[in-house]
Symmetry: C2
Subunit: 313 residues, 2 copies
Amino acid sequence: MDKSNNKIEVFAPATVANISCGFDVLGLCLDSIGDKMIISKKNKKGISISKIKGFDLPIDVRQNAAGMAARALLKNIKTDYGFDIKIFKKIKPGSGIGSSAASSAGAVVGINELLGNPFTKNELIDFAREGERIACGSPIADNVAPAILGGFTLVKSTNPLQVISLPSIYRLFVVILHPQIEIKTADARAVLPEKILLKDAVTQWANVGSLVSSLYTKDYDLFALSLQDVVVEPYRSKLIPFFKETKEIAIQNGALGYGISGSGPATFAICKGRENAKIIKEKLSEFYIAKKKIPFKIYISKINRKGIKTKMI
Amino acid sequence: MDKSNNKIEVFAPATVANISCGFDVLGLCLDSIGDKMIISKKNKKGISISKIKGFDLPIDVRQNAAGMAARALLKNIKTDYGFDIKIFKKIKPGSGIGSSAASSAGAVVGINELLGNPFTKNELIDFAREGERIACGSPIADNVAPAILGGFTLVKSTNPLQVISLPSIYRLFVVILHPQIEIKTADARAVLPEKILLKDAVTQWANVGSLVSSLYTKDYDLFALSLQDVVVEPYRSKLIPFFKETKEIAIQNGALGYGISGSGPATFAICKGRENAKIIKEKLSEFYIAKKKIPFKIYISKINRKGIKTKMI
């Protein structure tokens, strides 16, 4: 076993999937919200998880997103040693901001670096999806892709996996409002209809097209106009406390857009500039405090263009 | 009446709407296929159509796409004179390559120039849509937008109208295969279901997003992979003779994509480079000639980045 580079600290960021118009395809990477992981080489082959702090998650590798992602990676390379993972979770599972994706993505990126980076980012996304398979029931890529690539991403196809890195607009900040209730991804899927109106689908793909265009042309107005969801939000917003009210507050206070992060219950406001994000954070907090019903957390993050951050320790 | 600039010749190009993945939102402008129009100022206010050559179309202004588009424009400006339109149609009505859109767009662009360009291109698209309303039954913009703006366009919304000009990739050529049968837009609409599978919609909006991205990054491979239509083509292709066979010929001979132009019956192959377009034109012609069943026309065009072309005469 190579004695150098045998322990790495990983910042595994939260992510916002869907971004209103792009159900199952668009995602963005957050910066100041995420888990810490410590991954070490060990003499025994295979993967172990020796510690999970923060939330009660299965330490059994085969039941754990990070574990299964790491195993998927190891199936594709020969090593005479293994890896131990310690996870310090800060992203609550079932929050809608990519908790399992952070663990899956963090594990494979960390191990890849300890191995001297034999895999491409696209391959890492493919391995990380195996973590999503155990956590969410299907190998979705719309959170692991932005976690690994950073910035805005588009999952063009899942079979075979093809992911596009989109440019970021500089001055975007995201406010995440997280009511402390749990919505299981499976339940959030169950409320969606199997079929949707063709005319709504047309509205949605026009918005996906214009959102992508707005990122290339750095057109904030078009970006804001594209952040519409006529397909999923009408169903899922019913599962989220005060969605309508908080959306109104965010938009009235200048947010470029407001929607459900992934399958919720977290919601996101995208804002131009940190000052506007601060105002929206304050207004949303005031509203939630006044309601006195549901505990909540609220964060501000810039867009994280790098994705997962690592340092050898 | 200003005696200068009182007669203009207009080249009104054919267009391809939908471009496989972008039903009702994407379009592109062709170059070597189009109508000629002559528009002249006249003393009497209002619009007249004094000649239509090429195809049998209503000369009554209120029944004619160019006439109604021109009237929509004139409602928004005061003039003490009128305009006469002569139309030399080369694009067969009901072909699927924007015959009515060419007339509508040509009329408003020509008149706008004779007036000294008081209107923006976006306003002109809005007027031209009134021609589409009389010709197709609804004020669609996916042909008039590329006819007026040139290149690739995305109709982000129709109410209010918002259209985005997308960048073009340099070396693209389009082969148009036009079996000489007529499919009415209304009939082509009638075969479409009111609802579609959400999973198909997701595939489609991933493709719209990646197509838009590919135009900005000039990524021919991604462009080709994005030219998929899982929503409309399965229905409409049944109306088009030998669709499956001709698609196979085009793709096997290197076309980046092949699909139904607008509501058909014209189909398009998008090719990288003129040489490849020539090969595909030849192979498709051979196939159609061997079938001996249906007369057809076939054209090669580059992407027309300028849109409608005019010269004062």
